[in-house]
């Protein structure tokens, strides 16, 4: 077994671990964390495929490597959006659920003047 295969098996276990956390953790923040763990495993699988495609004097196939760089940035963007939603949700006291009809709450009007 070479190093690429070893890391390939490692990525398989990482996806399983992350999936377990995603299913079992009740806290949303821990779910986001577990989701990123899965992402790390999937990216690592790309890296293994890239390493196996080493040719033409390169240490790995540059195409999947470039895709992983794109993927890492997109994963960061989605994590940032998910965490912002989570912080916003928890900053609303007692409003974790949709308000019932006719609760009489006036919307905060007006933008910055």
């Amino acid at each position: 077994m070479n190093a690429a295969t070893l890391y390939g098996l490692c990525s398989a276990v990482l996806v399983g671990l992350g999936l377990y956390g995603l299913i079992m953790h009740p806290e949303p923040l821990r779910k986001i964390l577990a989701f990123n763990l899965i992402g790390g495993g999937v990216f690592l699988l790309f890296g293994v495929v890239a390493r196996r495609g080493a040719a033409a004097g390169f240490g790995g196939d540059p195409v999947p490597q470039a895709l992983v760089i794109t993927g890492l940035v997109v994963a960061f963007a989605s994590t940032a959006l998910a965490l912002a939603l989570l912080v916003r949700l928890s900053s609303e006291p007692g409003r974790a659920n949709l308000p019932s009809e006719g609760s009489g709450e006036e919307p905060m009007g007006g933008g910055p003047l």
Binding site: L14, G21, G40, F43, A55, D61, L67, S91
Partner: protein, 311 residues
């Protein structure tokens, strides 16, 4: 091989810790360590460009975001206390995850030999781009459309974050206000590190054409310097309604699209570069895109507007 096996065990151990740790803060710290260890794995897989990105964005910036969120999210323990998942559910989840892992492991062991690769065509056409780093060539020439869409995704995510602001704070200043402590270690750090960090960021961006590095890695370092100056309280985050800030954010995507459209006239396709000017055009795209990405990353970390303009 012994080193690789040890590293793999370490990665799996830290990953398991982030899942089983009871304390959220400890789990987040575990995740940051996980990202840094993965960066080492990327070096072992001969992918230094990805290693830089993983350490900077996957571990660093994501870690800052998670740490910030973990201190601000209300404890939901009281909601979930006494709802310990049933043993049957736990067993089912373990079974499912083991099956998924086993399926991926089998696929890894059954990967075709010899492996399919695009390395040869990349090498054959590298000279036409005027670049020396094959990964940058893929990002900026062969698959430039992916990179363009990625910058747009960052911009859309930022718009999503901003739109979480309550109506009265729309157009206000993102994040909390940090008061500068003139004798504090953070102020000293910011004053000492930021000028050096900006130089390092520009260098990483510039060498990306011939060596590991590039716009995303350089932009992340620039964004980190921005975050450090605001955290130390030396400079406040600008309000999101500032015109120069909005121009900075769209400069990169706008130049990218403009040169992409000019490709129709110059070389007959979207984002095609004429061979004699390829490197120049790529540089003209990369400079504003790097600055735009740095601003987007820093503002994504800062979060939605939380202070109104008039205070």
């Amino acid at each position: 091989m012994v080193f690789d096996a040890g590293l793999a065990v370490l990665v799996l151990g830290v990953a398991a810790w982030t899942i089983v740790a009871r304390d959220t803060f400890a789990a987040v710290v575990g995740f940051i360590a996980y990202g840094l260890l993965l960066a080492l794995v990327w070096v072992r897989l001969a992918a230094p460009d990805v290693a830089l990105t993983e350490a900077a964005i996957g571990s660093g910036l994501t870690g800052v975001l998670l740490l910030g969120a973990s201190t601000r999210v209300r404890r939901t323990k009281n909601l979930t206390a006494g709802k310990e998942p049933a043993a049957a559910l736990r067993l089912a989840a373990i079974g499912l995850c083991v099956m998924v892992s086993a399926a991926i492991a089998v696929l890894v062991l059954l990967l075709p030999e010899p492996a399919p690769t695009l390395a040869a065509p990349v090498a054959a056409n590298l000279a036409a781009t005027g670049l020396g780093n094959p990964v940058t060539a893929v990002l900026m020439a062969y698959r430039a459309i992916d990179t363009l869409l990625e910058v747009v995704v960052l911009l859309l995510a930022l718009l999503g974050v901003w739109s979480l602001a309550p109506d009265r704070l729309w157009g206000g200043v993102p994040g909390l206000h940090y008061r500068a402590d003139p004798d504090g270690i953070l102020t000293f750090d910011a004053q000492l590190l930021v000028p050096i960090g900006i130089l390092v960021g520009i260098h990483i961006f510039w060498v990306g054409s011939v060596a590991p590095g590039g716009e995303f890695q350089g932009a992340t370092i620039l964004a980190a310097m921005w975050i450090l100056t605001t955290l130390s309280g030396l400079v406040d985050t600008p309000s999101v309604s500032r015109r120069w800030l909005r121009l900075l954010l769209i400069a990169g995507p706008a130049v990218f699209v403009a040169i992409g459209l000019a490709g129709f006239a110059m070389a007959g396709a979207f984002l095609a570069y004429p061979i004699e000017h390829a490197k120049l055009l790529i540089l003209i795209i990369e400079v504003p895109v790097t600055l735009s990405i740095a601003a987007m990353l820093a503002l994504l970390v800062a979060g939605p507007p939380e202070r109104s303009l008039h205070r």
